[in-house]
């Protein structure tokens, strides 16, 4: 840099023009840099308007909606404009794809709605601008599906009382803001049953992104399921500290396999790399988030659970259309059709499939509750007393592992 200045100074007398030119280029580069920086930081705002046709009149009144929404013909004016935003790409064969498919199902069931979608909106600032954008395009029902969307949506709910916000997997509530989600722990318990029967080394591997409350709950449910059929089963946990660092996911999967793990499962954004790595090592795997994951492990796939929320989102939409919508915590499980168990892989024996079906029947009938006390953690401390049940609220802040899990949760 110093030399650069020297040269420019030396040439001021003779080449004043060139100095100006240099300065111009430097400014131009900075400007381009700044423009690209801004572009990279705010993709969400740009996505929303391009993906949807802005209606000419934005006043869609939910109360005037047709009485039989399922049979309504495609009108020129949509009966309801729905905005949906996702934290990642909608083709990730994971969580975002599952949420996207659920939103698309609304349109299939209620043809007169119009849907505005925005993917790759991971941060709070992006979520706020994206939702504001959707509202200005006339959206009066918004599905915010990522963890980070909850508080931006809640804040906007206060500013826009005419808009209804539905957020996935949160806990807040207001007069026009509510939450919906599946009941993943039940599915994880069933997958644990399958894993506990399939394993020969009695070691199950869990690739996790971050030590979060829900992740710990999934791991605990998985281990409890495995223990119910195999008292020697252990679940070994390793963290990647990223939702999408694929190379580290592969490293982590291999590391677990090298510890003798012979069934692998995961809680990361997209299961694809973990599944294909396990497949390449000849190790069984269990998917999560979306059932489309099976393609990555054609031979060693055991099963998986995924979200199938299309039916419930359609129902929520119809209540908005007929004016009966109320803020509720909608939590629904496999028996309600909100989550599904994937098809079993080619190497899964019938007895394993039967055991999973049995566990499901017991859960559906209420005879089996996954986090029914007494539950003891790794150190032997009683976390859920005899006769008590771990509540949904507590599940989201779990920072302990049940006895049988190998790893540290904080």
């Amino acid at each position: 840099m110093d030399e650069e200045h020297d040269i420019t100074h030396r040439s001021t007398t003779r080449k004043e023009k060139q100095m100006k030119k240099n300065l111009f280029y430097r400014l131009a580069v900075l400007a381009i840099g700044a423009a690209l920086l801004l572009g990279a930081c705010g993709p969400a705002a740009a996505v929303a308007p391009t993906e949807a046709e802005a209606p000419e009149e934005s006043a869609a009144e939910p109360t005037e909606a047709p009485a039989e929404p399922t049979e309504a013909p495609v009108a020129e004016e949509p009966c309801l404009i729905i905005g949906a935003l996702y934290g990642g790409p909608i083709t990730d064969a994971g969580y975002n794809q599952a949420m996207h498919e659920a939103v698309v199902a609304i349109k299939e069931n209620i043809a007169c709605v119009e849907i505005i979608e925005a993917e790759n909106v991971p941060d709070e600032a992006g979520a706020t601008t994206t939702m504001e954008n959707m509202i200005s395009q006339g959206a009066t029902l918004i599905f915010a599906t990522a963890f980070n969307h909850q508080y931006p949506a809640l804040e906007l709910a206060g500013e826009h009382p005419e808009v209804i916000f539905e957020h996935a997997g949160g806990w807040e509530m207001s007069s026009n803001f509510a939450n919906f989600f599946g009941k993943p722990p039940d599915g994880w318990y069933m997958m644990g049953v399958a894993a506990g029967m399939m394993t020969e080394t009695n070691k199950l591997g869990f690739v996790a992104a971050f030590p979060l409350g829900w992740t710990s709950t999934f791991i605990n449910a998985f281990e409890l399921g495995a223990l119910s059929v195999n008292p020697d089963a252990q679940t070994i946990v390793a963290y990647t500290f990223s939702w999408g660092d694929r190379a580290k996911e592969a490293d982590t999967t291999n590391s677990l396999i090298n510890q003798g793990v012979d069934v692998i499962t995961m809680h990361v954004d997209s299961p694809s790399t973990v599944l294909s790595t396990a497949e390449s090592r000849g190790v069984y795997s269990i998917g999560y988030q979306n059932l489309a994951a099976q393609q990555f492990a054609p031979e060693y796939w055991i099963s998986g659970t995924g979200f199938t929320l299309g039916g419930k989102l359609t129902w929520l939409t119809s209540t908005v259309l007929d004016g009966t919508w109320k803020p509720i915590f909608l939590r629904c499980g496999i028996s309600d059709g909100c989550m599904a168990i994937g098809p079993f892989g080619p190497n899964v024996p019938q007895e394993v499939q039967d055991a999973v079906a049995e566990a499901q029947a017991a859960i559906d009938s209420g005879e089996l509750v996954v986090f029914q006390g007494p539950i003891v953690d790794q150190d032997g401390t009683v976390r859920v007393a005899d006769g008590e049940v771990l509540t949904d609220d507590l599940m989201s802040s779990v920072d302990w592992f049940v006895l049988g899990v190998i790893g540290s949760s904080k």
């Binding site: 840099m1 030399e3 650069e4 040269i7 240099n22 280029y25 430097r26 580069v29 900075l30 381009i32 840099g33 690209l36 920086l37 572009g39 990279a40 993709p43 990642g88 790409p89 083709t91 990730d92 064969a93 794809q97 790759n120 591997g205 030590p211 070994i236 946990v237 963290y239 500290f241 990223s242 999408g244 660092d245 694929r246 190379a247 580290k248 996911e249 592969a250 490293d251 982590t252 291999n254 590391s255 677990l256 090298n258 510890q259 003798g260 954004d269 997209s270 694809s272 790399t273 294909s276 790595t277 390449s280 090592r281 000849g282 393609q295 990555f296 190998i406 790893g407 540290s408 904080k410």
Partner: protein
């Protein structure tokens, strides 16, 4: 800890170190010519997304490797035009290139997120065919892993045993002197960037279509910057870069081994091990030896009069 888990650390170090090593080698070459490329992260992403896209479309991972190399070279040419021809500041241009790469790779890769590909085929090392699959698969390498050591040596030979390498290093030390001895610094820098781009492309291809067999936005997760750091760590020497890349990725594999062997240590702490270890090595080496960064690294060559 079993034999399998210890062998596994070596295997993981090789698998995830390969992309780092290719990228580091590329950066060594153009830093030797006096150009810092802070946009490496963007170069990697564009190469990775285009190679993945081509592999999906054509079904041929080898074609994907080729396209990754071309994309890497092309991205570096953009940097070259700005910093060599237009004499822009290298650091600012590099960062701009990185953000450009974020956006461009997202656009290129968008239709291919979540697609399944058959990655580069892996070949079992001779003599290991009889082993159980669990062991044999640890040391079944694809062509990019097999070639990474020979290419490192080739880069060393190019830089330190050929007239071209001498000229390149001369440009990196003092472009005016190199010009006086009849060498064209601009041409050398373009050549270094092109070669570096080809190598970064190989690294990106290994990441996307050999190791993870997947494309996601920002999947490089900082590997471009780690490569820039490894260049300093290896003191601008291609053979020390091998040690640097293996050490870093080995440390990642080792901390994962500690996690998965049930060590009751906070995973947050374990995750910092590779960076901590790198710091320790830098401290141990110290600065007592002569600083070996190319003398005119990062400086604009204004031409000689």
């Amino acid at each position: 800890m079993s034999l399998l888990s210890i062998l596994g650390v070596f295997s993981s170090a090789i698998f995830s170190g390969t992309s780092l090593l290719y990228t580091t080698l590329g950066e060594v070459i153009h830093e030797r010519s006096g150009i810092v490329n802070l946009g490496l992260e963007g170069v990697l992403l564009v190469s990775a997304s285009s190679s993945f896209a081509v592999t999906v479309i054509t079904g041929s991972p080898f074609l994907g490797v080729l396209v990754a190399m071309l994309a890497g070279a092309l991205m570096n040419m953009v940097l070259g035009y700005l910093v060599i021809h237009r004499k822009a500041n290298q650091l600012a241009t590099g960062l701009a290139l990185m953000f450009f790469g974020f956006g461009l790779s997202a656009i290129i890769g968008k239709p291919y997120v979540g697609m399944r590909i058959d990655g580069l085929p892996r070949y079992a090392l001779p003599g290991l065919e009889g082993l159980p699959r669990l062991y044999a698969s640890l040391f079944s390498f694809d062509i990019l892993i097999i070639l990474v050591m020979p290419i490192s040596i080739l880069v060393w030979w190019l830089l330190f045993r050929t007239r071209w390498g001498l000229g390149l290093r001369a440009v990196g030390e003092n472009a005016d002197t190199a010009f006086a001895s009849g060498r064209n610094p601009l041409l050398y820098r373009y050549q270094a960037l092109a070669l570096g781009g080809l190598l970064a492309g190989l690294g990106a291809a290994h990441l996307a279509i050999a190791y993870t067999m997947n494309w996601t936005e920002y999947m490089t997760a900082g590997r471009g910057f780690i490569a820039v750091a490894l260049v300093i760590f290896s003191r601008w020497h291609p053979l020390r870069a091998i040690a640097g890349a293996l050490l870093f990725s080995g440390a990642v594999a080792f901390q994962l081994l500690l996690q998965s062997s049930g060590a009751q240590i906070s995973p947050f702490l374990l995750d910092t091990t590779p960076y901590f270890l790198t710091l320790l090595v830098l401290i141990a080496w110290g600065g007592n030896r002569k600083q070996s960064a190319p003398a005119s690294l990062g400086r604009v060559y204004h031409g000689s009069e």
